[in-house]
Symmetry: D2
Subunit: 351 residues, 4 copies
């Protein structure tokens, strides 16, 4: 058919970096399926940039991506490898892509991976970015897939503790992900009907929290559910740091333990029995929600279109109902704080 005349088929590479989240496999599936429609071939690289540096390849044909839609995590694996921290790293990336005849590279990741992608693009790497993070704090897109699944998981947990809290007159603290922003805490807190939500964007007063709990008791509500993002910090203790020798998957020093701190303070100041649930990694897992599957699929199909068209140096983005393209160079290394209008809605239901 004439089509075949007008073009040579492309080899498209794909990698997944940073923390995993539900929907990555759905993205991989979508990129592969749409690329096959174009007659292109897709190869995966294992463990993010590491896979290119070591030419560690995962062939991705139609069968390789069947049955992937509902699978959590990423079949390609992930890692913290940053080629710019390796001698000749960027050059090796470009060299290996050339040697493998990879004409377009789809990079799925959070800010770290996408910033690397942009810097490689400036050096001539034909990259297309797909944003992902369960934290929803990535700029330039209304939503990232993974977030909806995370808030569904957390909301279900809040639903579960509600009956216990109510039956036993307890205060229950749920510590959720959100080191720098309170998107998960705020969304899931609203959805779960939390009585108080603590987020990194707004240092809280432990005394105000106790006042709120007492006020609830006065109106006959002898239980309270408090959702705290792991990055939430108390005003009174601005010198308060949770010591830890653990570093997170982004190489940052890991904070945490705020849930236990709040629980101890509340018991000390109010005498009310308090319990803590620390969700940790379960928030990243599970089958993606229908919303995330569709968003991830739309992102993947769009990225395959861009790879076909040669629209490099850009990333896909959700704006309203539409999937659009934005320049990777517009990305700045700064997370997107919680929409204050949304937090104000949450506050309507405090206490």
């Amino acid at each position: 058919m004439p089509f075949a005349f007008t073009r040579m088929n492309k080899i498209i590479g794909i990698l997944t970096g940073d923390g995993d989240c539900p929907g990555i496999n759905a993205v991989i599936r979508a990129v592969v399926r749409k690329s096959i429609v174009y007659g292109n071939t897709v190869i995966g690289f294992r463990k993010s940039w590491k896979g290119i540096l070591e030419k560690d390849i995962y062939p991705l044909d139609m069968n390789a991506v069947s049955d992937l839609m509902a699978k959590g995590g990423t079949i390609l694996g992930s890692s913290r490898t940053n080629p710019f921290k390796y001698e000749e790293g960027p050059e090796t990336i470009l060299k290996h892509l050339r040697e493998l005849n990879v004409e377009a590279l789809v990079a799925v990741g959070s800010l770290d991976t996408l910033m690397v992608a942009e810097k490689l693009f400036e050096r001539g790497c034909p990259v297309v970015g797909i944003p992902k993070t369960i934290d929803n704090d990535l700029p330039l897109t209304d939503r990232t897939f993974g977030f909806d699944t995370a808030i569904s998981t957390v909301t279900e947990v809040i639903d579960r503790v509600h009956s216990t809290a109510e039956s036993h007159d307890r205060v229950i603290i749920i510590e959720v992900m959100g080191r720098y922003t309170g998107w998960i805490a705020t969304y899931a807190g609203i959805a779960g009907g939390a009585d108080c939500i603590l987020i990194p964007e707004k240092p809280f007063s432990i005394d105000d929290v106790c006042k709120l709990i007492r006020r609830r008791h006065q109106r006959g509500k002898d239980f309270s559910i408090i959702v705290a993002a792991e990055g939430a910090r108390p005003k009174e203790h601005n010198r308060f740091i949770v010591k830890t020798d653990r570093v997170d998957e982004f190489g940052h020093k890991q904070l945490g333990g705020i849930g236990n701190f709040i629980a101890q303070e509340i018991e000390r100041l109010t005498g009310f029995e308090t319990r803590v649930t620390i969700l940790g990694p379960m928030q990243r897992g599970g089958a993606p929600t229908a919303f995330d599957r569709v968003l991830a699929t739309r992102f993947g199909v769009k990225a395959a279109d861009m790879a076909e068209r040669g629209a490099y140096g850009k990333m896909v983005s959700l704006q309203g109902n539409d999937i659009i393209e934005v320049k990777l160079s517009d990305l700045i290394d700064k997370v997107k704080p919680v929409d204050s209008a949304l937090y104000e809605i949450a506050e309507v239901f405090f206490g």
Copy 2:
């Protein structure tokens, strides 16, 4: 405080009409909670407009709405009552609202209820609309709550039948809601990885469906999952009507049975064993998803703001990330068809 000087507190009425969907109770809760912040009082009317005509009131204080967030259905009940079909109906509505000192009326419903609300507004009724439908085919808003829960339910069903289909080389038809539009079929079909999606907007060819199934067999996929909206219709049988004496909750003649029709045709034409799942009312039920809870809450809070401000003759609407106000008079009695770009994405995965 000066505030108290400038205004008298309001009595706000609320009713829920048309088919129920997950999130209505979350809306009621939000309207009540935000109104309490304003010092306003909320009363519910039972079974839609019927409750005003019969002064059937449901008092809604803080306790009445606690524990409502996750509850499906509507505590106010619903009905098909249309005051314009009653003699003196509209006048009685206005008279009773005056007698009950209701200064603002929040009407939660689909097109039917909102059109009635608009016509009453033209007669001087201080109405604020909140759109709701699981079908997502309501104009003037990007999304309606209930839809996300419905597609989650349907997607889970598709996931479930997948393993049986695969183990037994079966064709499985899943008949889902969508009398006039294919939103649920398309979204859930993409999310569930359906091999074919049939919607009212695109009359289908049963022969093409069979071709697709055979093509899958040729590449070793001995099973197929087909999602069909109840309103989907075959080209070849454009005279084909499923006879029924049942009318739906909107008073329309109820179509249906397309799932069984397709199954019989496929078995007749291909000889492949075929099974049918007809989801019916379960698609309206269950606890709302986190997404729907937050959307419903934002709608309810916004409606309470509008009732406070006296922004009547309008309805709340989701546009991108924002909750805005649109004129009820801009509503036309016409459903919003599936976004064709979205259906094209679904087609990428057909066969």
Copy 3:
């Protein structure tokens, strides 16, 4: 170690027959894992007895069964092949097993597969049986895995329709699996709080059903939820047969459609709006519940022990808390009807 002296390692074959159900893959995983502990090797046969007749083998090492626990269906596939319907069928089975050095064969299936296993055992086949059916109507064992998952699915559906039924004053019929017995209908009906449960073991009177619905209306319950096993039959219409040219996976003529019949009768006799949900194949699917995963694992481990010991001609069985061995020859081709004491408990909540 002396152990090695006393024996040569065995090759163990495994096949899965009849309708699939959640937990089969967990059984396969358990047989393989425990056999590896014994130093035995396991090979799978594809599509039940067909796999032995055609020497269609699926190698099952440790990696092949990792990540299988939560997977519905059966990775080995299933079929209705009955070797006794093939000329030289049984002889071929024994011949091929000898040629493949298979010293023990684990047959996972319902009554049909297990009866075949028994007849082959009489001809010298070293078979160990594992009972499975979502219908829970298999004799000689308290429970079969798959059943708990099926009733969980159906119960969730009943929960979902509850809110709609209540909000709209509807009668909702849920047609569930159970061609010959009402185990699923009775268990899920009790768990979902059904107002009436119709099962094959007890022909029902449509008039009594309508009486019950009217009685509920009299006490202000304007909705009713009726769970009907597909094999339930009305007294009044003892000549009533639902015509169908479809045969089920057991080769029996498939009954069905009772849900629609009841709905039409109720609307005709009471005038109450009625809706139907026909669950169909979704009841077989999905990830197994924790209960089914543990039961399937215990069955699989026990079967591996029996294969190691050479305890042939027997099947595993749950008795109280214990997994025991029973003779396949004690199986009779007769399903186990619903425990009448259990149905009486369900009746306490009727009307």
Copy 4:
């Protein structure tokens, strides 16, 4: 009707004590519904024995228990009140029951509540016991309701963390309930495919755990999931105690923090990145599973029968498939350890 002649209707009291668990409301519903069949009246007492001491009554008619089946927690509330710790406590209990004409008292609870019930029975209190605990470690019954829901919740969490663990080469510790016994850890661990399960019944060696993790790495499994009951203790650190000033709902000093201890040790000894999920109260919450709903309903119906018959001083119990009666005096203040055969099955899948 003659029936009315032969007997006077009874007033039956019911209370729920100790930690809440899914299914208690289903029990209350069943006791009330079956008692109504007998023409008996049921009244609830709020917050366990406290409700009798203070005559704090909750009327339980048919409407009060409708819609209760799926509701977690207990509508009657619970407390740690022990009448024997009050002066004249037991006498007051008996006196108040007489004054309220309560002829039979159904006590739903764990060991603490049931031991109190037995001691009151010896003083003439007409008590019927219903055992409940999510820990499944109550003697004299095969199962308690709440356990199945708890293991379902934990199993889902293990499923969720699996994908993250696999994508990131992590060790993930899941700390679950089980202060004195490892029932939840063992059952959910088997169901979730845990690579190691640590329980109070078997002090563990942290070195063995690290060996196991390293062995997995050697065979290419770079991740491990460890389920630890909160009461699990390491051999090497037999002096190891987690300090805490918190007491649990049984008045015992609360242990805990073992999850963090293990995580730190594993990182220290193996260098592998480790994450912790501490489930806490969410394990008590949520809608009961179908299994727990049916078991709770059978318990409740049986208790209503016993109250009617006057079979006092006994509790209901599940034995195999049957609900039987056992003497409360046979209860000893000692939990039931995990079935060692079950733990051995878990061990098959370790490493």
